[in-house]
Amino acid sequence: MSELFFNAFVFPGLLYVLIWTVGLFWFFRKFMAALHKRVGPSFNGKAGSYQTLFDLSKLLTKESITPDGVNPYLFSIMPLLAVIVAMLPSAFIPWMDSFVVIKSDYGLLALVVLIGIEPFLLFLTGFGSHNKYSFLGGIRILTQAISMETAFVLAALSPAILFSTLNLSAIVEQSSWFSFLVLFPGFILYFIALLGLLEQPPFNIPDAEQEIVFGFYTEYSGTNYFLLQVAMFAEFMAVFAGAVTLFLGAYKGIFFDSYLFFFLKMLSIALVMMTIRAATPRITLSQMLNFSWKYMVPLALLNIAWIFFAKSLWFMGA
């Protein structure tokens, strides 16, 4: 019982997600500032490291405004649900050697499904906001989720096919430098689909602030907005952790295996994502649809064929 409590509220549960949110948020701001030739947060704590903590706690205590004419239950429960659903995948992730909260033979399936539900919750926040911009944002996020998720799932399937298992721990155990090379095209596809799923540039179409204000976030403030931010960072973690588990060998390190390597791998994915963010403008919805269905999905299917080919060539004996 106490172990379950620890898992739910400390690691890899609530506290872990909160620390990740505060830390990554600060890191994003500092890293972005360097790319922008700015200073970034610098007053509170060493190199402004307390700044995001203060900002988020301020958000938490500010008045949460519920606009006229909305269903207050739908409006307020969605952010909470979004956080919970975004945190759930970490229960299936093998964070360390033989450390998985829920041991399942279908861990990959759970991961993909839980990541896939999130955009629908965000669509409902937009739908429930009674605001034209939020509604447009909701429609956009749904459109984007449907078109990006196809490629995402196909890319995530490639390690499962290669190792003939949906068990995430088993995938990690069987992974090697060689399998990383075989899975590399799949990893690139996964990464691009990840940008789409996480609404990162050039796919930050659903919350394009210059076009539709802030998309589904527009009406949110105070605690609800804080929850949506936590949900966003928890979603980052789930998707990054998925990439690290499926393609990069999770906790496996160079001389020893440790959670440290898991963390560093997640961080390097975040770094690449931020660098793209600092150098690429947003594309339009129709360009995203074109890109997804004309290039991403066919390439993902080709990748599956390549995996079958590689498997029959090198992995059948195992």
């Binding site: 540039p201 394009a208 210059q210 150098a279 594309i283 919805l285």
Partner: protein, 547 residues
């Protein structure tokens, strides 16, 4: 030119005379001839109508309308006047909008501010002024501002009521089972600035756009009439904070023409130097906004970094970074301490160190090309038709640049060439800003070198030559002056009365007015994603849009 003069002389005119090098000034005897004249001009090639400017001569009971026709290709321009009775009931004239699309908003402005009714105008609604001025004409000389401003609370209530009424009724006509809606894009939108676009759209697709402007209306054209000729520069420079020097140059030139004053060579070179510095500071913002509107803030930050150094120079010269008030009728306001050029040299070095990086990462950006190379395209014909100027016109390959067409300050001593792009898309306008930025820096380098050499030779005295005395009282007269502003053509039409201590009327024609008019034309049938992109590429500043 002679042919144009002859053409005008065929109609019954009070006078037809040459004015400056490339203008003809004429006054029609009868307003009934206006449409025929306009048609003749259009066939002659004068396809752009720069602006429509009424002047209210209350004592004579006359409302004089000034039309400024331009031919961007052959640089022949016509200043046409016609008198109307001032009485509101009969103050009306044929609209030129059916012939010159660029007249649309200018006639609406004349209607809103002076109560001149334009017959057969397709869309004669109030523009710029707020709802509390409904049926009042604030720029008429007998308008009582004090009485109007006493009723502040009632005025604000009137604005609020009108807005609420509009919001409750704006979607009534739409079909209830369609996905059509009306979006308020602004005035508190992340990318809009103080302007509101009423976007009628079907889902993501735009059906039409009706811009609502006037959120930063300061009635500058009225304010200058309450100040003396030097105090007026404070209002004039607030046309737009991004490039304030060149608007002051335009105003100062008009005053100097009426006063009959010629400025010193040193002052004219300083006007070039300061003007280009302000142009650079504006272009940096323009480029940044273009990318900001596509969700990429890096360029804006990098540009701000470099821009600070140019503002440092403005600060060392005038004491202010933005509102410099550095140009006065008669020259430039301050003498020059040659050490100030050290600041300028720092800025130029910083610019040279960074510009290649900007070009490689942003100007050649493939994603930007993918988005912007096809949208918002304007052909050369459309530039003429809608009277567009500045970078927007040059991006479509139209060779117009007032620094070359009608040189002022010391621009005639510089060898300038037209910089143009061909395709006229949003991307071309961005590249245009970038190219012009580089040419501005080249101009600054030349001007700086020239001043340094002339000071070393003793030809110029930087502490004494900056100013020629301009009398405080000016004779009766009128003048127009044009400058190439960062965003395009600024035309100032200044009218003074006998022994005037302050301007009687100053019309400021600013380019953003025409460029904003294009939004509806360019965006019909496009998607919501294109609004910020095209809006940013037109390089609009709300300051000179509303004035």
């Amino acid at each position: 030119m002679e042919h144009l003069k002859e053409l005008i002389s065929r109609f019954s005119c009070a006078y037809v005379e040459d004015y400056k090098k490339i203008w003809i000034k004429a006054k029609l005897n009868s307003k009934d001839d206006l449409l025929d004249v306009a048609k003749a001009l259009q066939t002659e090639g004068l396809r752009s109508l720069s602006t429509v400017s009424p002047t209210d001569f209350a004592e004579d009971g006359i409302m004089e309308i000034n039309y400024f026709f331009e031919d961007l290709d052959t640089k022949r321009n016509l200043w046409l006047k016609v008198d109307l009775p001032r009485d509101e009931a009969v103050c009306e004239i044929e609209s030129l909008t059916p012939l010159f699309a660029s007249a649309n908003w200018h006639e609406r402005e004349a209607y809103s501010m002076f109560g001149v009714r334009f017959l057969h105008h397709p869309d004669l609604r109030d523009i710029i002024k707020s709802e509390d001025f409904r049926d009042k004409y604030p720029f008429r000389v007998d308008f009582d501002w004090d009485a109007h401003e006493k009723e502040t609370v009632a005025n604000v209530q009137q604005i609020v009521d009108a807005f609420k009424k509009e919001q409750s009724e704006n979607e009534v006509d739409l079909e209830s089972d369609s996905s059509e809606t009306i979006l308020n894009w602004g005035p508190t939108h992340p990318a809009s600035g103080p302007i509101r676009l009423r976007v009628h759209c079907d889902g993501e697709e735009i059906i039409s756009i009706d811009p609502d402007i006037g959120y930063v209306w300061r009635a500058l054209e009225h304010l200058v009439t309450k100040k003396d000729f030097i105090g007026a520069i404070v209002a004039v420079e607030r046309l737009c904070f991004m490039d304030n020097i060149n608007s002051m140059v335009g105003y100062a030139m008009a005053v100097e023409e009426i006063a009959g004053v010629t400025i010193t060579p040193f002052a004219s070179w300083m006007r070039v130097l300061l003007g280009e510095t302000a142009r650079i500071s504006s272009h940096f913002m323009g480029m940044g906004v273009f990318f900001n509107n596509m969700g990429l803030h890096t360029l804006a930050m990098w540009n701000m970094d470099t821009r600070e150094f140019f503002l440092d120079f403005l600060e060392s010269y005038s004491g202010a970074r933005i509102a410099t008030a550095a140009i006065e009728p008669g020259g430039v306001r301050y003498g020059l301490d040659m050490r100030m050029f050290d600041e300028l040299q720092k800025a130029l070095d910083k610019f040279d160190a960074n510009i290649d990086e900007v070009e490689a990462i942003f100007v050649k950006n493939p994603t930007m090309r993918m988005r912007a190379a096809e949208v918002g395209r304007l052909s050369a014909d459309e530039i003429h038709m809608f009277g567009l100027s500045g970078i927007v016109a040059r991006a479509s390959g139209v060779k117009t640049d007032i620094r070359i067409d009608e040189p002022y300050a010391a621009y005639d001593k510089l060898d300038l060439e037209y910089i143009t792009q061909e395709r006229g898309s949003a991307r071309d306008r961005f590249v245009m800003i970038f190219e012009e930025l580089k040419s501005s820096v080249a101009i600054i380098k030349k001007a700086k070198q020239h001043i340094e050499e002339a000071v070393a030779n003793g030809e110029m005295n930087p502490t004494k030559d900056h100013m020629v005395k301009v009398p405080k009282k000016l004779p009766k007269g009128e003048a127009i002056s044009r400058v190439e502003w960062a965003r395009g053509e600024v035309l100032m039409h200044l009218v003074t009365q006998e022994k005037a201590k302050s301007p009687y009327r100053l019309k400021m024609r600013a380019p953003s007015f025409n460029h904003t008019m294009m939004l509806d034309y360019l965006l019909r049938g496009q998607t919501l994603s294109d609004i910020p992109l095209i809006f940013g590429s037109l390089y609009v500043c709300q300051g000179d849009l509303d004035r």
